[in-house]
């Protein structure tokens, strides 16, 4: 495609108005292991496929679902190391909020700040976007919430969502049910 001339630098738009690196990041997400989340009336459930490369891997050491705060958790599809870095940054932001206001961070605020971090990596020099999409599940004063955050930094609130491989099948199933 003609866009390939513009896919080398993240900070350059292609003529069709896309940032091609982000498209590539979404492809990386799409080839990651499936993960999905469903919002219930009194909570949120998130799940992911934990397929290990070999039976010799110690499965307890692989943590695909992580806490960001005692009432917010997250799961991902895409590159595991990128996920670890994002979790670390998000946890720090949540703690900074708690330290300032002595109040646990609302889910929306944490999602917004995480998304801002991801967006910064699409507009800075010398860095690449994160190769993960996150599903953030949390419970606060506004009730149970489920958000999806993309490598571009956009986030959406969902009643149910899926990401990774076979996402279309998963979403069709969720839509029916």
């Amino acid at each position: 495609m003609g866009d390939s001339q513009y896919s080398f630098s993240l900070t350059t738009f292609s003529p069709s108005g896309k940032l091609v690196q982000i498209e590539h990041a979404l492809t990386a997400v799409g080839s990651g292991q499936t993960s999905l989340g469903i919002k219930a009336s009194n909570g949120v459930v998130i799940a992911t496929e934990k397929k290990l490369p070999s039976i010799l891997v110690d499965e307890a050491s692989v943590q695909k679902i992580q806490h960001l705060t005692p009432n917010i958790g997250t799961v991902y599809s895409g590159m595991g190391p990128d996920f670890r870095v994002l979790v670390r940054k998000s946890r720090k932001q949540a703690e900074q909020y708690l330290r300032l206001y002595k109040e646990p961070i609302p889910v929306t605020q944490l999602v917004r700040e995480t998304a801002t971090v991801m967006q910064e990596f699409t507009q800075s020099g010398g860095v690449r976007p994160f190769g993960v999409s996150l599903l953030v599940a949390g419970y606060d004063d506004k009730g149970p919430q489920l958000y999806q955050v993309d490598p571009s930094g956009s986030y959406f609130s969902w009643k149910a969502s899926a990401m990774g491989k076979n996402v279309s099948n998963a979403k069709t199933f969720l839509e029916k049910r």
Binding site: R99, L100, Y101, K102, E103, P106, T108, Q109, R112
Partner: protein, 251 residues
Amino acid sequence: EKEEVRLDFPPSHRRRLYLVLSLPSTFPDFSSVRKSSKLYSENPKFPMSIFEYNGSAVVAMVGKNCFAIASDRRLGVQLQTIATDFQRISKIHDRVFIGLSGLATDVQTLYQRLVFRHKLYQLREERDMKPETFASLVSAILYEKRFGPYLCQPVIAGLGDDNKPFICTMDSIGAKELAKDFVVSGTASESLYGACEAMYKPDMEAEELFETISQALLSSVDRDCLSGWGGHVYIVTPTEIKERILKGRMD
């Protein structure tokens, strides 16, 4: 006999420690400290405590599902009065008020900073700050300037969730002090403590609370030369905010 010592750093407002700082050449022995510290405060060339530069009195009291916050109206420059309508209490939002005592310039600047932070919070989180949260924010902002502080002592009063009144005060570097009955601050704070302690009783309704806080304020500022010239009282209930100006001894 008791020796008076004077400390120039911002201490906790509950207990004012006085420590004479320097000039060993002028004071060869401790017995002359008391005489000389009095000389110090009368000598216009020597700076008095910076908290006493403008003069102020702020008090907040808890009632039954309501609170009251009141302040004096004098703005002075040491012994000269230059304004009699100085605003020391400000509304952060309909259910949280903050009264700031101490150096007037810091009162105004700190208020502007706090309103700024609260407006951003309101826009981002689409809700008003709870009084406890606001108090934590004020404490953090004051501590940021730990080694060059804002020379004010805030009094924060608000209605929390389920209309439970909340009051607290802190010193100029952010040490929070929660109370269930009343909090005071300013140059008239010692008299205010006495007056509030004597006049306060728990679970007062709004009108009675207004009477109590007004009497406590006026009688205390009458004992303090640096505060007075009337009073400014806010009574806040879940349904309304009543603002009243008191006329006291205009001196």
